[in-house]
Symmetry: C2
Subunit: 393 residues, 2 copies
């Protein structure tokens, strides 16, 4: 996979939860980079999230150290000390400023970080920079993910080739506003802070913030993007319409593709489901309605069972609290109209067949206004229950 | 089971979804009764709900006809015609006023009512009045319920014995504000309309409105209570403190016990779970926090798996949006303190043992104010998924 100029990657095994895989990773930029981030809205935030939120005010970053196996959340004062120490040791070993190092953790909540095992691995982690790929980072940050998630894209701006690469992890607890989702994006574009902030916000709003697996939102969600300017293009600013738009679109593509991978890999999921609510009173209603359907356990289990039980979709729309007129509502399933003006078309058999696809698209047309929103989700299976009942064992 | 004076019950097989069980029931009061009701907040309401909501404005009732197997929801104009016809035929056969007959339906959404099979059974239904018990009604209204739910209580007011009997059905789609939950209460108390309304509202608020199984809310939820005055006590009014309080408490006991039965019988559930959030900023926060925990799939699966993963409880509190100070929060599991001031007590092994009980009590002490609320729920199992993936097959 192509990666942007000046970025190096590393991953080692620190046996944080248990031995047998790489679980500690490092992303390093040879030059100090502009950095933007978005973080969980959960009122209970993990120590590294609190640390990064403070640090990112400077707008500058050079390294991200990330571990899986332990979330360093609900770990009290010791948790914050541990996060700070991870950053300090990394900075010292790399020879960069401490406050340019960001820390991310994912895994079990409420267990102290096994710092002795992490400490002893930082030198090896730094030594391996350049010997490992961004794919190794994607693998090291997995928890219950079944495959590593990475993507790259090259665009041209100002005659220069610009590379954007992203990795993420997801699987469980995925909900609006990015629940246990970590995503790291690196790019060699030359861009100023406010343009990078805006591009990231746009991208996340319609990707990571519009996916849901089980309605839970984590304490650790973080998206970070570092742009080190080494592509050599003229600096992109907000007012620079064409350059900004090009970069912004490419970044949105990256986050959208990554969010699809997360949903496809939802715990126990067998199907990727896109819910589109259109012609709602407004966009907020459309989003709320789409989320109500996407989060309904009854809808998700029906999809899993190849049962086009559209009554459950109507019920979810009904309790979502949005404006709805039953007698105006149409529902389509993979292009087949199954509900017209609030009542069934008698197409259940045909619709059940459509549900055997691995990709399901449900479109609800409310015929009330111009608001439209799409939400990605997955089905709910026995395996979801199994995975989450046995997570810590 | 003791039942109040003047009430007769009946149940027959109309093969509404499929043959093999009684699925059409009738509750009849020899005298016209005072009636109160509470209905689903879902914006998509089943035809019989719309009918009853209009009819109940009169405050008078004499019969309730109820079927399982078909919800008569999302059935358009024909659905309303069918509900009206069910009431009309019942009224004619019983020789009572049509607008004193209430109709309730539960089952699959979006399928037209098999009216020819219902029509042909109304006479038999009326003929069997008095030959069947309230327990037969409880059995006939079951859908995925695994046991009939009925309870009776006798109290003394004004020197007279007063009986209150209730039946309900629940199982799936149980959520705040009574989701696919039907409950019928009959009593021979002599009470006026406003006192009955108030007593029912109090009772439902702390019972059916504080239970949740999967967060879905149905199109058909209905609670009806008929009081026919045949116990002969002096009429209870709101200002009659002692009589009202006695009746109100007994009614609250009835609905609380019925709501416990519903949760215990949650689809696929193996455990009954009570979540209490106390010392929240206010009662609203306490309720919201308790529901966030109760509705968290991650919490529910952890309880199923005997895994005292309290981090998931903290995370749910965090995203619930209520006021919370991590460093002040304590959590107890069946009396064992597992979290003190936001961090673990290292009691996970002991706590996992506690989770092997069939009744789980989680207490969260926020130490922020005086708001307290209890919510009942159950664990989430593979069987929930199985039941709901195969519901219509």
């Amino acid at each position: 996979m192509n990666t942007p100029k000046g970025f190096l990657f590393s991953a080692v095994e620190a046996a944080i939860k248990k031995p047998g895989r790489k679980d500690l990773a490092l992303i390093f930029s040879e030059r100090e980079a502009v950095i933007s981030g978005m973080f969980t809205n959960n009122n209970v935030k993990a120590a590294p999230v609190k640390l990064d939120m403070k640090r990112i005010e400077s707008g500058r970053g050079q390294a991200i150290i990330v571990n899986s196996g332990n979330a360093n959340a609900c770990t009290g004062k010791q948790g914050m000390k541990d996060a700070v120490e991870m950053a300090e040791m990394t900075a010292k070993t790399l020879g960069v400023k401490t406050d340019r190092v960001y820390v991310c953790s994912t895994g079990v909540i409420g267990t102290p970080m096994p710092m002795e095992r992490i400490r002893s691995k930082i030198t090896e982690l730094a030594d391996d920079l350049g010997r490992r790929t961004i794919g190794d980072v994607a693998a090291a940050i997995m928890t219950t993910d079944t495959f590593p998630k990475a993507i790259s894209k090259i665009i041209k701006i100002d005659g220069k080739a610009i590379t954007i690469s992203g990795v993420c992890k997801g699987a469980g607890m995925i909900c609006p506003n990015m629940a246990t989702m970590l995503c790291f994006i690196v790019t060699d574009v030359n861009i100023d802070k406010s343009a990078l902030d805006k591009a990231l916000k746009n991208a996340v709003q319609k990707s990571f913030n519009r996916i849901t697996i089980d309605g839970d939102m984590s304490t650790n969600d973080t998206v970070l993007i570092m742009a080190n300017g080494m592509a050599g293009n003229k600096v992109i600013r907000l007012k620079d319409n064409s350059g900004f738009r090009k970069f912004s679109e490419a970044l949105s593509d990256i986050t959208y593709e990554l969010s699809r991978m997360i949903v496809r890999d939802g715990e126990g999921a067998t199907k990727l489901v896109e819910i589109e609510v259109k012609n709602a009173k407004n966009e907020r209603d459309a989003e709320k309605g789409a989320f109500a359907i996407a989060n309904s356990l009854l809808v998700k289990t029906a999809i899993y069972g190849n049962d086009a039980n559209w009554g459950r979709i109507m019920a979810a729309l009904g309790y979502s609290g949005i404006a709805i007129k039953e007698e105006k509502t149409d529902i389509y399933l993979n292009g087949l109209k199954i509900v017209s003006k609030g009542t069934g078309m008698g197409k259940d058999k045909e619709a059940n067949e459509k549900l055997k696809n691995k990709e399901i698209k449900i479109v609800v047309d409310l015929h009330l206004g111009k608001g439209t929103a799409k939400v990605l989700t997955c089905d709910l299976t026995e395996d979801y229950v199994k995975i989450n009942a046995e997570y810590r064992t």
